[in-house]
């Protein structure tokens, strides 16, 4: 049977104070299985009574070898592996991979596909924030928010199932556009969601924002300032809560985000309460973007027409020889993009998610690296938790909104 392999305290002594080795302070393991570690995260805490002096995160308990596995599959097949990385923002993993492939190959996705991509990405962001608010409030003790937010989440997941057949890992966004067009019931289902959501977000605010228990557990905890955040490459709501209005959707827009009108919420406190406020306001902005995108949804094709990279529709294969040959080549060998490397980024609910894709002209990607935001957010844990209590630590882990699949890949 295998044994648990660990670093000994001696090997880690440069990360702790000298009192840890003599036993004056307690070195406690908050292990991979814990009710509130949001996945398999292991924290090694050095405690002086109830105060945290040092917090060393230990990751790797969910390492799946996705990057190496993608090198062994063709570009189309490798996309299936990407959804399972940041499993809270499933459409986003596909989206950033498809944007990278499109940049590499020169494909262009048509306007209708862009608008539907924006709608699905924003719904995914809503769904991630809803789960975040449910679980982080659950950690702090407010259990009813979890049940309400899961109820809303089911509405969005039903919509994903209507569109693609799968609730979470859809692989609906493909290079060149989308897999297929949305069905006729999509618009009415989406209008229902848009009608209902703003009042539901008000309900969450009514439960938490002015709640004195919630405020005293989150105000002033886990403060971060902009200078430290930029040095440590923090992006997303955590950076916006420190005061800098930086959002990739506005600064380096993709998929036509510059056609829609939305605000970037910021706060200046930089603490757990500030991040909560930023995310709740982002939920409202997401609903606003979805409504605008749905109103302006253009007609047209949903996938680019370049047959060298994109399979022809089934109806054409029966009548055209070239379509059959293209289909055969794409399914047996895959497409051959030009050699070179690209880097594309999108704004995920946690921060900047990027793909570094290098190709050598063969049908399989030569190197795929995902720049995931959860790694940088977990890296600043020791800074955020200096001198706080163990109970505050739980609130801080909840507020930075990490996903372990993202961190370990």
């Amino acid at each position: 049977m295998r044994e648990i392999q660990e670093f000994t305290l001696d090997e880690l002594k440069h990360l702790f104070t000298p009192q840890a080795l003599t036993g004056e302070t307690v070195v406690l393991n908050m292990g991979p299985q814990h009710p509130s570690t949001h996945g398999v995260l292991r924290l090694i805490l050095e405690l002086d009574g109830e105060t945290v002096l040092n917090c060393v995160p230990d990751i790797g308990y969910l390492h799946t070898g996705i990057e190496k596995n993608m090198e062994a599959k063709t570009y189309q097949k490798a996309e299936v592996l990407t959804d399972r990385m940041d499993y809270m923002y499933t459409m986003g993993n596909n989206l950033v991979y498809c944007l990278a492939v499109e940049k590499l190959t020169g494909l262009k996705s048509p306007p209708r596909a862009d608008a539907i991509r924006v709608i699905l990405a924003e719904l995914s962001r809503l769904q991630s924030h809803l789960l975040w608010i449910g679980t982080s409030a659950l950690d702090l003790g407010a259990m009813s928010v979890f049940l309400y937010s899961m109820r809303e989440r089911e509405m969005i997941l039903d919509l994903f199932e209507l569109v693609s057949g799968q609730r979470m890992m859809t692989t609906f966004i493909r290079p060149g556009g989308l897999w297929r067009d949305v069905p006729a019931e999509f618009e009415s289902a989406l209008r229902e969601i848009i009608k209902v959501f703003p009042k539901r977000i008000d309900e969450y605010e009514a439960l938490l924002t002015k709640n004195p228990l919630f405020m005293s557990r989150t105000k002033g905890i886990g403060k971060l300032d902009t200078k430290t955040a930029l040095a440590w490459d923090v992006t997303g709501p955590t950076l916006r809560a420190t005061g800098l209005a930086h959002d990739i959707r506005k600064s380096n827009p993709y998929c036509g985000y510059d056609l829609y009108d939305f605000d970037i919420p910021t706060q200046t406190s930089g603490d757990v309460y500030g991040r909560y406020q930023v995310r709740v306001e982002e939920m409202r902005q997401s609903v606003r973007i979805v409504e605008q995108a749905l109103d302006k949804l253009p007609y047209g094709p949903v996938r680019d027409n370049n047959r060298k990279y994109i399979p022809p529709p089934r109806s054409e294969i029966g009548v055209s020889m070239e379509a059959l040959i293209h289909h055969f080549k794409l399914w047996t060998e895959g497409f051959n993009p030009p050699a070179g490397s690209v880097y594309t980024t999108i704004e995920s609910p946690r921060g900047e998610m990027g793909v570094f894709l290098e190709s050598d002209g063969s049908p399989k990607p030569y190197r795929v690296h995902y720049r995931t935001p959860s790694v940088t957010l977990l890296q600043i844990m020791p800074i955020l938790t200096q001198g706080c209590f163990v109970a505050d630590l739980i609130g801080i882990i909840g507020s930075i909104d990490i996903v372990l699949g993202d961190t370990d890949r």
Partner: protein, 176 residues
């Protein structure tokens, strides 16, 4: 995407300065500018970028293995971002195959800490001056560096009906 790739004019002073001072070679592909910098000068070049040209974030740091060729075998890729001009700039440093090592970027951009630990763990490139170089994703006593091209994928043969019993005999089974 057209907006992003047309920003080349603002990058030109930074690119020209780095190429002159540090003997770099710049190239452009699909709107992304890459500068191949000699491995000994990468940290200095990054300091110049941060101080003079306002590239305040190290967005990503990764490594690529070009296995059958040994000089160079690895390229370390650094991707910098500026929050003021919204531009990305990439550096590449070439390393040879036997005992690859390079100075750490941690002193210039602190978030390179975990990224370099990951490159050490998965590719086996040592970083001089790193404060805490140990394995991060694989178990501590793991042997080998998985993301190298000569490391096997490690897959298990799939069980079909013709080899069902044969693989069952080899496969470990958990007991109470």
């Amino acid at each position: 995407m057209e907006i992003r790739s047309a920003m080349n004019e603002l990058l030109t002073p930074a690119v020209n300065s780095i190429c002159e001072k540090f003997n770099g070679q710049a190239s452009e592909f699909r709107g992304d500018v890459t500068i191949l910098v000699p491995a000994e000068l990468v940290v200095e070049a990054a300091t110049t970028l941060r101080d003079e040209f306002d590239f305040d974030m190290l967005s990503a740091e990764t490594a690529v293995d070009y296995c059958p060729q040994t000089t160079p075998r690895f390229h370390i890729v650094y991707i910098f971002y500026s929050t003021k001009t919204h531009l990305y700039l990439t550096f590449r440093a070439a390393l040879n195959g036997d005992d690859p090592n390079i100075a750490t970027m941690e002193t210039v951009y602190p978030n390179a800490n975990w990224r370099e630990r990951e490159i050490w763990d998965l590719m086996g490139i040592k970083f001089e001056g790193h404060s805490d170089l140990r394995r991060i994703l694989m178990p501590p006593n793991w042997e080998g560096h998985p993301l190298r091209k000569d490391y096997p994928l490690g897959y298990e043969e799939v069980q079909h009906s013709f080899n069902l019993e044969e693989i069952d005999l080899r496969k470990p089974k958990g007991v109470r």
